[in-house]
């Protein structure tokens, strides 16, 4: 039985990888590939956020700090080195991840001393400090923003390049989230979620465990921030450090299922695609927020565990009922 389950799971993983790989080739028009790119970027951010917040129960609303820092790292370094557009700019993506991870350490040392709502408020406060810095530092050119190099690629396959870089980051991020979940370290995070003081009393070094998870979740977020900056060609403080980013990735994880592996992926797929569709069709930028708000209410009220865990608990029950009925008829 477990053999068929793991076989089915391996099949699902392969199918997902296949879809991820061929999507921009099959649907190659620029609008669709742009949506695809943004979906993948948010899949990374939501998965990374969930690997920390979903397991530890610390609802961080400051991950835009890492996204923005990654975006600015790429823009600033590319400018200082007078880089011209091309593949070489992508080499700055890992650097952006490292910078985001390093920023997470002092950020975490301050914020992770607090818990629950205090923690949430502290992360928001630190987020605004970073946005304010981006607005006021000379290195970021304040509110006039920064240009990133423009690649001289032809329109055909232009978006695909960004897409595949983001997709590669996604594969690594999901692998990281999976590894964390099944490691001792992941179990310690779950123990912290349930009773942090008790976990300490059983030898879990809670401070370190939380900080490492926080920094680990910052790295991929910074990397996709860099991809985002390079793709857009220019960045501004209010978009690189966007409070909506914080809420969006949290909502994606909540929607799909906090602490699950597939939940944030599903959440990002549904919500980001929805947002892009709304923006395209109604050409009103903020309309999707109303839908987000309504959706959030529905999820919290009707599916407090998120879509994936709810389905997972429904499926065996339905299957059992079906086999029962089949048995009764036979």
């Amino acid at each position: 039985m477990s053999g068929t389950v793991s076989g089915a799971r391996a099949g699902a993983v392969l199918a997902a990888l296949g879809i991820l790989a061929v999507f921009p080739l099959v649907f190659s028009n620029p609008t669709t590939t742009t949506i695809g790119l943004f979906v993948v970027i948010f899949m990374v951010a939501a998965t990374a956020w969930n690997a920390f917040a979903g397991l530890s129960g610390y609802i961080a609303l400051g991950h835009a700090v890492f996204f923005g820092s990654g975006a600015y790292t790429l823009a600033i370094v590319a400018e200082k080195l007078h880089m011209t557009g091309g593949w070489s700019v992508f080499e700055l993506v890992p650097l952006a991840g490292v910078v985001a991870g390093l920023i997470a350490i002092p950020f975490g040392l301050v914020a992770l001393r607090t818990r629950r709502h205090t923690f949430v408020v502290i992360t928001i406060a630190i987020f605004f400090i970073f946005q304010l810095l981006a607005f006021n530092l000379t290195i970021t050119h304040g509110s006039s923003g920064l240009q990133t190099p423009t690649p001289l690629w032809t329109a055909v396959g232009y978006n695909q390049r960004f897409y595949y870089v983001a997709a590669a980051i996604l594969v690594l991020t999901v692998a990281m989230a999976w590894a964390i979940r099944r490691s001792r370290f992941g179990l310690q995070l779950l123990a912290i979620r349930d009773d942090e003081d008790r976990a300490r009393g059983l030898g879990v070094r809670t401070g370190r465990v939380k900080l490492i998870a926080f920094a680990a979740s910052a790295v991929p977020t910074g990397m996709v921030g860099a991809v985002y900056a390079y793709f857009l060609g220019q960045i501004f403080p209010q978009f690189a450090f966007d409070p909506l980013f914080d809420i969006t990735i949290a909502l994606m994880a909540f929607f799909g299922g906090l602490g699950t592996l597939t939940g944030p992926l599903l959440g990002a797929l549904v919500l980001e695609a929805l947002q892009q569709e709304f923006t395209l069709h109604f050409s009103v930028g903020g309309l999707y927020l109303i839908v987000y708000g309504a959706l959030f209410l529905v999820v919290i009220l009707l599916l407090p565990q998120g879509v994936v865990p709810t389905l997972a608990s429904l499926l065996p029950r339905t299957r059992a009922r079906l086999t029962q009925r089949a048995g009764a008829e036979a």
Binding site: G186, D194, G201, V204
Partner: protein, 261 residues
Amino acid sequence: MTPLLEVEGLTKSFGGLRALDGATLAVAEGEIAGLIGPNGSGKTTLFNVVTGYERADAGDVRLRGRSISSAGPDRIFALGIGRTFQLTRIFARLSVLENMLVATQRHEGWARSVFRAAGSPAERKQALELLEFVGIAKLASLPAGNLSYGQRKLLELAYVLVADPDVILLDEPAGGVNPSLLHHIADRIRAVNAAGKTLLIVEHDMEFVMYLCGRIMVLHQGRVLTTGTPEQVQRDPAVLDAYLGGAEDEDDELDVAAVQL
């Protein structure tokens, strides 16, 4: 020979309330010591200070002669003092077996924990053996939140044992447990002691304490009032005074066990 665990002159105040007022006691290797006292006498505060959850205002805690009064709970657990809580504290959303595995890294650095699976086959086997030992192995895959109160007490005992501590502090192991399970818990505590562990038990159920402990210390208003065998303590008029709020009682035959607390 120095005692395994020593508490010397421990003082701890919460605002104007002096919870511990120069408490001094010692626990010898291999014994089951009891710590009793009226409500508010400082028993749980003493446990909290010894296990690093609270910092004492003055005084010292020593394990094998070494001061541990500045260490946090994770460090103290790693040094070999395990404890259970009065109101059991388990990880409700983890399975019973996962609860056990949380505690298995007493001797392991964090870096290793990142790169290995949640439980090696050997650790899982050991965890299941301990669950078997306390008698809840059948429930291993259940979410711990589904356990009854008594079963939670057993789980707490089992996962403290996982890390093989030298001293175990039990905070009211019998509190709120139904009588049939009570015998089982007492029996398991005896077995733990027979396996070489030292125990210090805080308990309100006098029968339970008298049955288990070879030596009993009575805490009153933050300091140790008297120490002795169960018989000595039972006969000590000062103990009765402490429990009855200092009221002079003429009945010499009154025994502490009869006072329903």
